[in-house]
């Protein structure tokens, strides 16, 4: 774990707002707005892991989805390597997607059931012209699958033949094969059983360290967050209420909500340890 403070910001988010229009059913009904993300600012520095932590509905996932243009931002800016990615058209943003990749929560839903692992992993390579033919693509797929701890022989198989943990590894491979600079992990280990979660968490941490990745790690699980992050931002009702180095957030929390969150976690009373 490096001392990240000296490093330059890779992603600089300023006053990000994402509002959703909801509940227009009748002609005479006013549209109402859900302010999912309401003025959030943070930066992700080169090679660091910043965690966004909070409870359901706090807007943490929407931040990730907005930064990958899966949702449209209502306001604010997000400079990636000096360019405001929120202002870009989808077409202009497309080449940048290679550098900003996302890992999804549900390993069962994030892989297309009708496409083999090989097809799934080759697609981003061909889109971004990182492979000119299948032979090149295959050698990269083999390399990446080995990197995530999967047997490359599974390439021809389809997602339903794998367990949740294996699918999440494949999802990580899809991200890593592009050699991105920023990885947004949205509850990437939440759907997994504890013993599998530990494996995947170790893998993510190793990949991050080995490749010097910057990572925005979105999670509700404070234990997981402590394990993987350098810095932590606590979100509550669409805003960041506290942000700081991991040690500060966990050892010396300032905001009431952070304290309440930390106090609510069930602890294991383990005397002999």
């Amino acid at each position: 774990m490096t001392q990240a403070t000296s490093k330059r910001a890779l992603l600089d988010v300023r006053d990000l707002k994402t509002y959703f229009t909801i509940g227009k059913t009748g002609l005479f009904q006013a549209k109402s707005q859900l302010k999912a993300v309401d003025g959030v600012s943070f930066e992700v520095r080169e090679g660091e892991v910043l965690s966004l932590v909070g409870e359901s509905g706090c807007g943490k996932s929407t931040v990730g989805r907005t930064l990958t243009q899966l949702e449209r931002a209502t306001g604010g800016r997000a400079d990636f390597d000096g360019q405001d990615i929120l202002a870009m058209s989808p077409r202009a943003f497309r080449p940048l997607r290679r550098q900003i990749q996302m890992i999804f929560q549900d390993p069962f839903a994030s892989l297309n059931p009708r496409r083999s692992i090989e097809q799934t992993l080759a697609e981003p390579l061909f889109i971004h012209k990182l492979a000119r033919n299948w032979a090149e693509a295959r050698s990269k797929i083999v390399e990446t699958l080995e990197q995530v701890g999967m047997d490359p022989k599974v390439m021809q198989r389809y997602p339903h033949e794998f367990s949740g943990g294996q699918r999440q590894r494949i999802g990580i491979a899809r991200v890593m094969i592009l050699k991105p600079r920023l990885v947004i992990a949205d509850e990437a280990v939440s759907a997994l059983d504890v013993s599998i979660q530990a494996q995947v968490l170790n893998l993510l941490k190793k990949l991050q360290q080995d490749n010097g990745l910057s990572m925005l790690f979105i999670s509700h699980d404070l234990g997981v967050v402590r394990h993987i992050s350098d810095r932590v931002a606590v979100m509550y009702k669409g805003r960041i209420v506290e942000m700081g180095d991991k040690s500060q957030i966990f050892e010396n929390p300032q905001h009431d909500y952070t304290r309440r969150l930390l106090a609510s976690i069930p602890r294991i009373a383990q005397k002999a340890a």
Binding site: T25, G26, L27, F28
Partner: protein, 315 residues
């Protein structure tokens, strides 16, 4: 509830207007001069000139549409070529038969479809279920007119239990006993639709039975029959209610065939006869009325749906 209904009625207007444009254009899609189409082959040149002036047929299409629409709103759907009577009166004369037939059919659909569907779902996988759902699918595969012809052959010609054709009004001699004329037609019309409802009740109940709250109900120690009716069927009813709109549409379509088989003086047979007689004003009028009626039925279905499912917000 009121506001919701009002909103829904307002929301119908654009669809209705669009549908009315299609209905209006119908006359213009027929090759030939609209005035001679509307007046039939026997029209004199004076009559044609008169209608052309009255309906603005020499004016642009959209002017014609507004003249037609304002006539329609005032209840003037034109004059039947065949009957030489206002179209509305011609349609009205068939309304009693068709409405009574629809009501009796709906009764059969509910009386047969729902209990058999519940039975099949609660006895899922047994021979009773296989008989009910397989039988239902078989009935849904029978052409309506074929079934009607054989019902006539067996119950009217063979056994003589019911009359085979026609329907005197219930205000005529015989009164409500005249409804026996509608016995075979309503059963004919009900068969495929009841079959669909049986399948739907069964499928929806099997779906609901897998939901978590049913396990909660069983964990309360409720009798299985109570769980089946109060918790499973009640929730399955939401999906079934939604299907009643489609059932009505199917009913209207098949009524055309059934009324023809049984020679009933209803609107359905009127459509077919008008098509064969090239009585276009009547065709146009009937379509318009059925479309309006169908939309209102769908609105009722939506309201019922909202009542059945508290998650659908009415405010």
């Amino acid at each position: 509830m009121f506001v919701y209904t009002f909103n829904r009625l307002l929301a119908l207007i654009p669809t209705l207007l669009a549908a009315s444009i299609l209905v209006f254009l119908f006359i213009h899609l027929i090759p030939g001069d609209p005035a001679s189409i509307l007046l039939g082959d026997t029209a004199t040149p004076e009559e044609i000139a008169e209608l052309t002036r009255a309906m603005g047929l020499d004016k642009p299409l959209w002017t014609q549409y507004f003249i037609w629409l304002s006539n329609v709103v005032q209840g003037d759907l034109g004059t039947s070529v065949f009957f030489r009577e206002p179209v509305l009166a011609v349609i009205a004369s068939g309304a009693e038969t068709s409405i009574l037939l629809a009501c009796m059919t709906m009764m059969w659909i509910i009386v047969l479809g729902i209990p058999i569907g519940i039975l099949a779902a609660t006895r899922h996988g047994t021979w009773a279920d296989q008989l009910a759902s397989g039988g239902a699918m078989l009935f849904a595969s029978v052409p309506t007119f074929w079934l009607g012809l054989y019902l006539i052959l067996i119950f009217a010609v063979g056994l003589g239990w019911f009359p085979s054709s026609g329907f005197p009004s219930i205000t005529d001699e015989g009164g409500v006993f005249n409804l026996r004329y509608l016995m075979l037609p309503s059963l004919t019309l009900a068969a495929p639709n009841a079959a669909l409802i049986i399948r739907l009740v069964r499928a929806s109940m099997l779906d609901v039975a897998r939901e978590d709250h049913v396990r909660t109900a069983r964990a309360k120690g409720l009798h299985p029959a109570r769980v089946a009716i109060k918790h499973i069927f009640r929730n399955a009813l939401i999906a079934v209610a939604a299907a009643f709109g489609f059932t009505f549409a199917a009913l209207v379509s098949e009524a055309v065939v059934t009324e023809t088989v049984f020679s009933l003086p209803g609107i359905g047979r009127l459509v077919v006869q008008s098509i064969l007689r090239r009585d276009y004003p009547v065709i146009q009028g009937v379509i318009l009325i059925i479309v309006i009626f169908y939309m209102l039925i769908n609105l009722l279905v939506d309201l019922a749906y909202a009542r059945l499912d508290p998650r659908v917000s009415l405010s």
